[in-house]
Each structure stands twice: as structure tokens, then as C-alpha cells.
């Protein structure tokens, strides 16, 4: 695994994408085929099934390091990564084991049926025979969740450099449900059979936030506008009599939304739709809030009650494949017209509908539609160029999200907690409260929005102004007011304040505001009444 660990070190030591791409491309040219294939799998989020729980790993690492479990647990939030924490507390290795990446993965998977003492013995032997970086990599193979500072896009670019195959084409080949067990390097990369994987999705097209005035986009007639729905992006695939639903994170969600199965009876084979999965209130014919959708995301099997409480629909806005043909290079106007025709004859009540275009004579019409988007449960508008093809990834120019300005409230910081990973030495996770008479009522947490310099400043302040500690959480003097921005507000019995916010973050540090001028619980309730 030495060469893979060396690749990891090279990638980890640079922030320059050109250096990373070159290092990866070199690895793809020189490494053994099975190691290459596993590397592609790992870097695209396909980790081997876990044969050892993290609870066991923690216990074993503490035992091997000669420390109590609580002390190991105290180290973890400082490091922010379990695999690294283990690598750091273990004593230096005594031997050196030579085994390839694939060799280790195979050995780990063979533990699937082994008993606990056998697993422990295997892990101890591995820890004792691996250099520090290899040890970290080994732990990552067990726990999964790789990043290595390499995005899938960068990995694909390196792969394109190494193989000479077009990057967009590779992006598509790497999508979907494949595993190094069931496919070869040639089958996946160099000579794939398109019929081999009927569930394979297309790479998603992503929008940029619109920062300039919409008039800068040219005539309004060049654009198709629709509402920006607040659900989960999904790609619905109907091929070979089956249906598949993919999330934008390339997760297969088919089983979570069984109500979509009936669609195979109504739409032709060879249809791929891009849209938004929404929890839907059939009576009012409006979306239920995102919080209604949440319980449906979490579970693999759906109880009947949940199906009735939060039925879902796919709000369709694009057509990528029609009658078995990839139509992504058609202009959007033609794809949408075809989609509209395909959906026109569907019986009412099916969980699929067309995201209606928002008509406009000029940009003022659209500005008005955006301003009232919250009334129909949308987050703003999407603007898509009528003549544009469906391109993979996030590119500037054809797709824009024109979101509503966030709601804001001025709140008092009352608790602080250190971040994890690269923010492990800073206080970055804060709890905020609104005033209720003399009391302060916590209502949200937020951990983003400040600059690194501001985080450093507030960290120094937190250290000097801690009034109490609860494990990793510090209560601080209620002195600082922050403007909290958020996208939506909903009633929540689980929270003391009775509300839950969507996407809360720190918009500004209000150094100019004393605590006495922070917003109150009544202000928050008024917002709930208006927007909840």
C-alpha cells in the first residue's frame, strides 16, 4: 500500500489542483489495474462494505495505546477524524507489512464472517506493521468516507489525462451503480457496454447563484423561468420496465419513494427525467415544507403512515433521455416541450407533474414572481437559457438560481463548541438565543458565515469568557450579537423555542448592537406566523 499512501501524501501536501491532477494521472498510468479501479471507486465515494464497527475500533485503539476509552474519546473532537485519531495515539509500528491496496481491501472484506477476536487480531497486526500514513489509509478503508482533498471532478480530469478519453464522457461512465467486484478497468473505463447498467444516471447540471441584476442576462425571452423548489434533486430513470431514482449525491433512493413505482405503467421505456422530489399536500395542492420530507429521506423502508402523512411527487423540469435516446444536446426549449407533451396525458393524481414555467413579459414580472415565491413554498426562481444543452456540472452562463433574500434575525451567542477537522482548534459551532424578558431562549445553531480571522478572534474571546462547561460545549458571557440569516422557519415541538430554521448561518457579526437590542422570542413567533 506504500504507493497509494505516497499518492495520498502528495495530494495532501498541496493545494494546487495542477499538482494533484498530475500526481493522480501518474498513479492511473502506473499502478496495477485492480488498485487503479479501487482508487477510482474510493474517490467517487464507493467504499467497501464495513466489516468492523467504529465502536470496536475505538476500544481497540485505546487498548493498543494504553489509555482509557474516555481519553481516546476526548482526543477525537480535537483531531476531528477517527482514522487519524487512531493513527496518532498508537505506538510506532514494530514491523513492516507489504500488501497492495486491493490486497488490504480484500483481506478486510474477508473479515465479514470472522469472529471478534479474529478481527481484533487482524487489526492489531495491521496497525503494528504499517507506517503512520499507511495506517491512516488503512483506518480510512475500514471507516470509509474518503475525501483526500480530491473532488470527483479532479479525479475524472486526471483519469482523462491518463487515458486520453474525453472528460465529460468519463463523468458519465463513472456514474451509477458499479463496484470494482463486478466490473473490470476496461468494462468501466476504456470499453464500457452501455446496456450493462440500465440504472446509470446522467451527470447532473447545476446552477450558479445569480449575483448581478437579472437584466444583465439579456432579453427575458431568451430564458425559461420556473420556481426553485425546496426538496431533493432527483433523476428519475425509466428503463427496461424498471424505475430508479438517483440523488444529486449519486445515491440510489428508489426504495425510499415506493409511490413512484406506478410511473413505469404510464411512461415509455427509455425516459429519464430531472426534477425535484417534494413532499406534497394534495388537498391544498402545495408543497409540504422540507421538514415533512426529512423523515422520508432517513429511512430505507417506509411505514404506511408516513406514506399518507408525507406523500411525495416528482416536480419534473427537464428531460434527458426520450425513447431511449440521449437528448441532452437538444436545446432546453425542445426538451421541455417534449417533457410537457409526455406528461400532458398522464392521469391526475400520479406523483409526477411538470414544474410550470413562470410566464413573463419582462424582468419586472419575474422579480414580482420571485418576491412572492415563498407564498407557494418555493425558495425563489430558476432561470435557464432556452437554447442551452444539458451540460454536466456547475458552469456559469446557462443555469442560474435566483433565490429570495434570506430572512434574518439578530441573536445573542450563548454557547460555543470547537469545530472538527480543519477547524478543530477553533470555536466555530455556536448556539444562539433570542430575548424573552430577562431570559435568553436558545433557538438555533450556526457554524458558518464568518471569516477565518473572525473565527480566530471569537475563539480567543470564548477562551477568556467561558462561564460554564458541559463536555465540549462552553457557555459564554452573553455579549455578542450576530445577524442570523436563514431560508425558512417552521414550528418544531422538539426545540425549546418552538421553531426550527432552515440553513441558518451567521450573516454578520453585529459589533454595533448591544444584547438589549437583539430580537425577541415574540419577533421569532411573528416570523413563524408569517412564513411558517
Amino acid at each position: 500500500m506504500k504507493d497509494f499512501a505516497a499518492l495520498f501524501t502528495t495530494l495532501d501536501q498541496t493545494t494546487k489542483t495542477s499538482v494533484k491532477t498530475a500526481a493522480l494521472a501518474e498513479y492511473f498510468r502506473t499502478a496495477p489495474e485492480d488498485d487503479r479501479l479501487w482508487t477510482v471507486a474510493l474517490l467517487s465515494g464507493r467504499r467497501p462494505r464495513r466489516s468492523i464497527t467504529s465502536t470496536r475500533l475505538r476500544e481497540w485503539a485505546a487498548e493498543r495505546a494504553g489509555i482509557s476509552l474516555w481519553l481516546f474519546e476526548a482526543c477525537y473532537p480535537v483531531v476531528g477524524d477517527l482514522s487519524e485519531t487512531i493513527a496518532l495515539v498508537l505506538p510506532p509500528p514494530a514491523t513492516q507489512i507489504e500488501k497492495s491496496l486491493t490486497g488490504w481491501i480484500t483481506a478486510l472484506r474477508a473479515l465479514d464472517k470472522a469472529d471478534d477476536p479474529t478481527r481484533k487480531d487482524f487489526v492489531f497486526t495491521a496497525w503494528d506493521g504499517l507506517a503512520p500514513t499507511e495506517r491512516f489509509v488503512f483506518n480510512k478503508l475500514i471507516t470509509g468516507g474518503w475525501r483526500m482533498g480530491v473532488s470527483q471532478k479532479l479525479m475524472t480530469r486526471a483519469l482523462a489525462q491518463a487515458t486520453g478519453i474525453d472528460e465529460a464522457e468519463l463523468t458519465h461512465r463513472l456514474m451509477g451503480d458499479w463496484s470494482p467486484d463486478r466490473i473490470t478497468w476496461d468494462g468501466l473505463i476504456t470499453a464500457p457496454d452501455p446496456a450493462a447498467d440500465l440504472s446509470r444516471p446522467y451527470p447532473f447540471s447545476l446552477a450558479h447563484p445569480l449575483e448581478d441584476a437579472p437584466e444583465t442576462l439579456g432579453p427575458v425571452t431568451d430564458w425559461i423561468a420556473e420556481h426553485k423548489w425546496d426538496g431533493i434533486r432527483g433523476q428519475l430513470i425509466l428503463r427496461g420496465g424498471d424505475h430508479h431514482l438517483w440523488s444529486r449525491g449519486e445515491e440510489l433512493m428508489t426504495d425510499r419513494f415506493p409511490e413512484l413505482a406506478q410511473l413505469t405503467d404510464f411512461l415509455p421505456h427509455g425516459t429519464v427525467i430531472d426534477g425535484e422530489v417534494l413532499a406534497w399536500n394534495n388537498a391544498a395542492d402545495t408543497p409540504l415544507g422540507f421538514s415533512s420530507l426529512q423523515p422520508r429521506i432517513g429511512r430505507k423502508t417506509v411505514p404506511k403512515k408516513l406514506l399518507t402523512d408525507a406523500p411525495v411527487i416528482v416536480m419534473a423540469y427537464d428531460l434527458l433521455e426520450w425513447q431511449g435516446a440521449d437528448i441532452r444536446d437538444w436545446p432546453l426549449s425542445r426538451r421541455r416541450a417534449t417533457l410537457a407533451t409526455a406528461l400532458f396525458d398522464l392521469p391526475l393524481g400520479l406523483p409526477l407533474r411538470l414544474s410550470p414555467p413562470v410566464p413573463a413579459q419582462d424582468w419586472t414580472d419575474l422579480a414580482q414572481a420571485r418576491a412572492t415565491a415563498r407564498d407557494i413554498g418555493a425558495e425563489g426562481l430558476m432561470l435557464k437559457r432556452a437554447a442551452s444543452p444539458y451540460l454536466p456540472g456547475r458552469r456559469r452562463g446557462d443555469w442560474w438560481k435566483w433565490k429570495l433574500d434570506p430572512l434574518t434575525i439578530d441573536a445573542v451567542m450563548i454557547y460555543a463548541q470547537a469545530g472538527s477537522g480543519r477547524r478543530a482548534t477553533l470555536y466555530t459551532d455556536f448556539t444562539f438565543a433570542v430575548r424573552d424578558g430577562e431570559a435568553l431562549v436558545p433557538f438555533t445553531k450556526a457554524y458558518s458565515g464568518l471569516t477565518d480571522a473572525e473565527f480566530r478572534e471569537i475563539t480567543a474571546w470564548v477562551r477568556k469568557n467561558t462561564t460554564d462547561r458541559f463536555g465540549p460545549v462552553r457557555a459564554v458571557r452573553p455579549e455578542h450579537v450576530f445577524e442570523i440569516a436563514f431560508e425558512g422557519i417552521q414550528a418544531s415541538p422538539r426545540h425549546k423555542s418552538g421553531v426550527a430554521l432552515r440553513f441558518p448561518r451567521m450573516a454578520r457579526w453585529r459589533r454595533d448592537k448591544p444584547v438589549a437590542e437583539a430580537n425577541t422570542l415574540d419577533d421569532l413567533k411573528a416570523m413563524l406566523a408569517q412564513y411558517g
Binding site: D12, T15, L71, A74, L88, A424, D452
Partner: protein, 337 residues
């Protein structure tokens, strides 16, 4: 109580003196010259002979009395002595004895020799006030030979690419320690003004250090491509750095042990170099004092105190304003705070 903990700092009533106080006091016993320990504004200072030049350089015109390591000084009903802490040149632990009861304030310390500072001297005492900047078992330092190999290896690699190596180090202690690890046969060693000033003070008191070239307006940087530049951490990424052309940046700190911190610094390389004791160092130092009562000051105080209690010590936490090894971008100040 031999020592008490007050708003101004650690206080010895018998001697009527404070140790490393953070508010202005009449009499300050100073462990070493770092700015969170030697502050401006006290009426009288007491420090080791070896620490005095840097303290004078940083604090200017102060009333400073010096003391030799091991020299016993009667102060009121207390007997005070200073003993090597191995942290930076001249750094001391301060031993206070009142009526046969001995307390020791560690200041900042490290137990392994760095070839520069006077080696740490274990002291027997009844109560030990210890720092614990790196008081978790994830912190283990490489030995000096490994460090020298890593840093010189990076320098050679950087030089081979036609780049200049810029290493972020604190001006007092770490800069000079790294200087002694560098292999001057590889190329010239350049210094930022803040580093050079402190280095010059230490040279003047007789500490042997390799030759350095201060980076000034007049210096022709083109002829020094491939040099090693020692600069305060705050200079990394600054306008000052840009004049060197293509560079590779490094940062030397105990925090570089953590991958998350290495990445957040956005330096090309991180070297695990600290002038504080690592986990093993803290534990061995405390065991060697034979003390039953331990107070921990700055660092992972809650976790480390809990660990000490589990080992049978009577351990408590003292809130101080010592910074330990800071990662903040504020450079060590050359001017009074």
C-alpha cells in the same frame, strides 16, 4: 498556601511577588521571554541571566535583576530559585520554598534536549504548576534527527525545483532551534527582520548559530533563489513573501501533528516542531516531581486534569492568560502590548 492564584497571576504571599503576571505588579518573577509570560508594566523583574537580554530587547527600559540557575534567593519568608525548563534559551521553572514546603511553577517546558536550550531539570516538589499545551496522547514529537532530515529534505526538493523555501517559525526559540537543524551546505539561510533581531540578541550572549543573511531592501533576492528563509508565521502569504518569486511554504509547530491544522494553514508543508512537552514529556515530568498536588494552567486543562486524577494525583485547573503555542496569526510582538 505557598502560591495562590489571583486576578493578576500566580502570587507568592511570603515573597510578595507574582510569577509571570498578566497585570502590572510590583515584583514579577519571569520564567522566560515569550510575550504571554514576560509582559510590560511591572515595577521590578527577576529573570535568569540567559533570558535577560531578550526580555530587555523586547520590553525596553525596565528594572531587571538577574539570577543564575540554581542560585537561592531569599525573598521575605520564601526562598526562590530558577531551574532550566528546556523551553527556549534562558527559560526557567521557578521553585518557591516556604517553611520547608516546595512549589514549582513550570512556565513553559519541554523535556527532550533541543541542542540549544539548557536541558530540562526535574525538580522534587510538593506541588507542581504545569502547563499542558499538548496534554493529549495524540501529541508525540519526532526526534531532532528526524526533524533535521525532513526539513533539509524539503529544502533540497524545493531548491531542485528552483523555488525558495519559506519556513514559518516563532522568532524566539524555534527559529534558532531550526537554524541549528539546517544544513548550511545546501544553500544560504535568509531571515526576516523579526527573526534576525532575536537571533542577533542570542548570538551576542554567546550562543553559537549558523550564519544568516537578513532580508533587507538592499538584498538582491535573485541571487538567493533556492535559499531557506526563516520568517514569523504571519509573514507566510503576506506581501513580503511575494518578492521571493516561486516559493514553497512550510510551518513549524506542534500543531502540525494534526492534518486538519496543516490543511487550514494552507502551507505546503508542516513540520512537527514544538518547544512544549508532548504527552509523554508531560507525564514523565510530572511523575519525576514526586508531587501529589498538580495544577494545570494552559492547554487541554480539563482533559489532562481528569487524566491526572485517574492516575491518583490531586489535580486542579488554574485559569491563566498564558497562550501556550498559539496558532493565531498575531506574531510575537517586539513592542509592549
Amino acid at each position: 498556601m505557598v502560591l495562590t492564584f489571583t486576578e493578576a497571576g500566580i502570587y507568592c504571599p511570603a515573597a510578595d511577588a507574582h510569577i509571570d503576571p498578566w497585570r502590572p505588579v510590583d515584583r514579577a518573577l519571569i520564567t522566560h521571554g515569550h510575550s504571554d509570560h514576560a509582559r510590560w508594566g511591572h515595577r521590578r523583574y527577576l529573570a535568569t541571566e540567559a533570558a535577560a537580554p531578550v526580555i530587555r530587547h523586547r520590553l525596553g527600559d525596565i528594572t531587571l535583576q538577574t539570577i543564575r540557575y540554581g542560585e537561592r534567593l531569599k525573598m521575605g519568608d520564601a526562598t526562590i530559585s530558577y531551574h532550566p525548563a528546556g523551553h527556549v534559551p534562558g527559560s526557567a521553572q521557578i521553585r518557591v520554598e516556604v517553611g520547608g514546603e516546595v512549589w514549582v511553577v513550570s512556565g513553559d517546558y519541554k523535556t527532550t534536549p533541543d541542542g540549544l536550550s539548557e536541558p530540562f531539570e526535574p525538580l522534587r516538589c510538593h506541588a507542581f504548576i504545569s502547563e499542558c499545551t499538548f496534554g493529549l496522547p495524540i501529541y508525540r514529537w519526532p526526534d531532532e534527527a528526524t526533524l533535521a532530515r525532513e526539513i533539509n529534505g524539503w529544502w533540497l526538493e524545493t531548491r531542485a525545483k528552483g523555488q525558495t523555501a519559506i519556513l514559518g517559525v516563532y522568532a524566539l526559540g524555534k527559529a534558532q532551534r531550526v537554524l541549528r537543524l539546517l544544513d548550511p551546505s545546501i544553500g544560504p539561510i535568509l531571515t526576516h527582520g523579526a527573526v534576525e533581531a532575536t537571533t542577533e540578541v542570542l548570538r551576542a550572549q554567546g550562543i553559537a548559530l549558523p550564519a544568516t543573511i537578513p532580508v533587507t531592501q538592499a538584498l538582491d533576492l535573485k541571487t538567493h533563489r533556492g535559499a531557506m528563509v526563516l520568517a514569523p508565521p504571519s509573514a507566510l502569504g503576506s506581501a513580503w513573501m511575494r518578492k521571493f518569486g516561486p516559493v514553497s511554504t512550510g510551518f513549524a509547530s506542534g500543531w502540525m501533528r494534526l492534518r486538519g491544522v496543516r490543511r487550514r494553514r494552507a502551507a505546503d508543508r508542516g513540520f512537527v516542531v514544538s518547544d512544549h512537552a508532548d504527552w509523554a514529556g508531560l507525564n514523565s515530568a510530572i511523575a519525576e516531581t514526586g508531587a501529589e498536588k498538580i495544577f494545570v494552567t494552559h492547554g487541554y486543562t480539563a482533559q489532562f486534569a481528569q487524566w491526572l486524577r485517574a492516575q491518583g494525583y490531586d489535580a486542579g485547573i488554574v485559569q491563566t492568560e498564558f497562550g501556550g503555542e498559539t496558532l493565531d496569526d498575531t506574531p510575537e510582538t517586539e513592542v509592549p502590548e
